[in-house]
């Protein structure tokens, strides 16, 4: 607070001070409820997460065994845990498959519904609608569609391939019962639910590209594909960075659909970090281990978020 920066006439100083004092009280008054809630339910558990990740804290304490400091034991146990490693693998696969697919799909949808076509608002409404459907419901619906013997997906595949695509011939068509099928099913339903969100972000990005850029490209003789390649894509750089990294963070958080559809199975093929977090911290009551996983997860998210900031800053520096 720079009190002395502006020299004020002496007779108004007490006024200013009184006003400053009042604003101090009012400022804290307005902010206090949120600050208290954030301190108790976000900052405190965050500090506790870091601290208890170095202890053998349990959810239900044993009075005979006081909680003690265990150093890095939780982190060692975490990385030695089969389930957690499987979780990292499926989270990784999920990121590498869903992020490019969903980003490209969302851009395609955005370009489609950004055209001057009749009914385009109706199409936008429909493409975005799954975002309003709770993930648990999405997972329940798709679990029944992916039923190997009586599900809509296999019936459609069977019909359009004249009986060639059957679970008997292709194991992954057993969906939730097969390692690859379960992964594919979760990826498909996740894209179905999430792509509308990215479409909306891309649509906003497309609409912020000035028409003059396209006019200039046309005068230079660029065809539609060249315009898309050399005007649209570069202009959407920041939007793409945001979409890619926010989808990555969401992909690390993968939980609801897996818990409903496969509970991480078969044989840990669809295990995820957050599923493991729930198992450690809640089902087994090992707070220390769960907290260590939480800290690891936090670091992962921070790395992604800082990558995003770094990339966006570079853009600003260039422009």
């Amino acid at each position: 607070m720079a009190v002395a920066v502006e020299p004020m006439p002496r007779y108004r100083r007490s006024d200013r001070l009184r006003r400053r004092g009042r604003e101090l009280l009012q400022g804290w008054g307005f902010a206090a409820p949120a600050i208290v809630l954030l301190a108790v339910f976000l900052v405190l558990p965050f500090i506790l997460a870091i601290y208890s990740s170095f202890t053998d804290q349990r959810l239900v304490p044993n009075p005979n065994l006081p909680t003690k400091w265990v150093g890095l034991r939780n982190y060692r146990r975490l990385f030695a845990d089969e389930g957690f490693r499987s979780g990292l693998i499926f989270n990784g696969i999920f990121v590498f498959v869903v992020v490019p697919l969903q980003t490209a799909f969302a851009l395609g949808l955005a370009v489609l519904v950004n055209q001057k076509l009749r009914f385009r608002n109706a199409f936008r409404t429909i493409y975005f609608a799954p975002v309003a459907v709770t993930m648990v419901v999405v997972a329940v619906m798709w679990t029944s569609f992916f039923n190997p013997s009586a599900g809509l997906v296999n019936t459609v595949l069977d019909t359009i391939s004249f009986g060639f695509l059957t679970p008997e011939r292709f194991g992954f068509l057993n969906w939730a019962l097969d390692r690859h099928g379960a992964r594919a099913a979760i990826i498909i339903l996740s894209i179905w639910q999430g792509v509308g969100f990215q479409m909306v972000i891309y649509l906003a990005g497309l609409q912020s590209i000035p028409d003059s850029l396209y006019e200039a490209a046309r005068i230079d003789g660029a065809n539609p594909w060249q315009q898309f390649r050399h005007v649209t894509i570069p202009q959407l750089r920041n939007t793409t960075i945001f979409v890619v990294l926010s989808t990555t963070i969401l992909a690390f958080a993968l939980f609801d659909q897996v818990e409903i559809m496969t509970q991480g199975g078969p044989q840990d093929a669809t295990q995820t970090m957050i599923l493991r977090l729930l198992t450690f911290g809640f089902r087994q009551g090992q707070v220390g281990l769960g907290a260590a996983l939480g800290v690891f997860y936090f670091v992962l998210v921070v790395v992604v978020a800082f990558t995003q900031r770094r990339l966006l800053k570079e853009e600003r520096a260039v422009a």
Partner: protein, 297 residues
């Protein structure tokens, strides 16, 4: 837009004939693709509603992988009566509605008040709080969930409504959205009101809040969608049906092999249709609220 607009303009030289072939077919092809995509995005919702109206469970199982999943053969509310006759289902609807309304209501007040204090008042510690709010936006809830469970367990808050409400009222990202909106408002009206002797609270209530209705709508929808669909935390803090919200009740219902599929679809429709109705009614706000997350970078 980019692609079609361009096609309309490039009509010179040898390319004319090839382009006109493409141009004549482009519209119908575009529509075909768009309709197929629309079917892809809408079919689960249609099947859910159609099958939920079929009272005969054998027929539900027979129809679910046929064309009859999309055209109702029977229209009956029997499944809906059945699920509401079940223990805990009506209760779960009430619980979710209550938790969502209270969390969003409190959240709008608490987060916007904090943002107003940060945007318009000079006070010692303000800059620290702004920095803290921005830093906290990055902390994912899951990473603090286990110690939070420990805290609420010690407080004896398990199996209550407030354990599902209070931790989710204040949210750094929502404070940030309000802050951005308030900073962008013209200061003159507020200054005039101050000179007329209005207090800060009056200015916040009577000037700033009404002028920022779009932001309140945006944040409210975002928070409501989040709370309504919340599954991970309630799974840990609710055990019995008393305070259990819809997503957990759905899991319980779905994992019970004795529950008919028709009932599951009816329950899914109960969870989905109110939100879809709100979405169709307030589409602009829904889209805006989702797009506002683009600010998070």
């Amino acid at each position: 837009m980019a692609v079609t607009a361009a096609v309309g303009h490039v009509t010179e030289g040898v390319e004319v004939r090839r382009r006109s072939w493409w141009r004549r077919r482009q519209r119908p092809l575009t529509y075909l693709v768009m309709v197929l995509l629309a079917i892809f995005f809408i079919f689960p919702v249609v099947a859910m509603v159609v099958l939920s109206l079929q009272p005969n469970e054998t027929q539900v199982i027979a129809d679910q992988d046929s064309i009859w999943a999309f055209f109702p053969r029977a229209v009956s509310l029997q499944n809906y009566e059945d699920i509401f006759g079940r223990d805990g289902v009506g209760r779960a609807v009430f619980n979710s509605a209550l938790i969502t309304v209270v969390t969003v209501g409190l959240g709008l007040v608490v987060n916007s008040m904090c943002a107003y204090g940060l945007a318009r008042l000079q006070w010692i510690g303000r800059d620290v709080v702004i920095g803290l709010v921005v830093a906290l936006m990055i902390v994912p809830f899951q990473s603090v969930s286990v110690p939070l469970l420990l805290i609420v367990n010690r407080l004896g808050w398990l199996d209550t409504y407030h354990v599902q409400i209070i931790p989710f009222v204040a949210n750094p990202f929502f404070i940030f959205l309000f802050y951005q909106a308030f900073v962008g408002l013209p200061k003159e009206i507020e200054e005039a009101a101050l000179i007329d002797g209005a207090g800060r609270w009056t200015i916040y209530r009577r000037i700033v809040a009404p002028l920022s209705r779009p932001t309140f709508a945006t944040v409210g929808i975002l928070q409501a969608l989040f709370v309504w669909g919340s599954f991970f935390w309630p799974l840990m803090v609710t055990r019995g049906p008393d305070v259990r919200p819809l997503p957990v009740a759905m899991q319980v219902l779905f994992s019970d092999p004795n529950v008919p599929l028709g009932d599951v679809f009816a329950f899914a429709a109960v969870m989905t249709l109110p939100v879809l109705a709100l979405y169709l009614g307030f589409q602009k706000w829904f889209v805006q609220s989702v797009a506002s997350q683009g600010l998070k970078g």
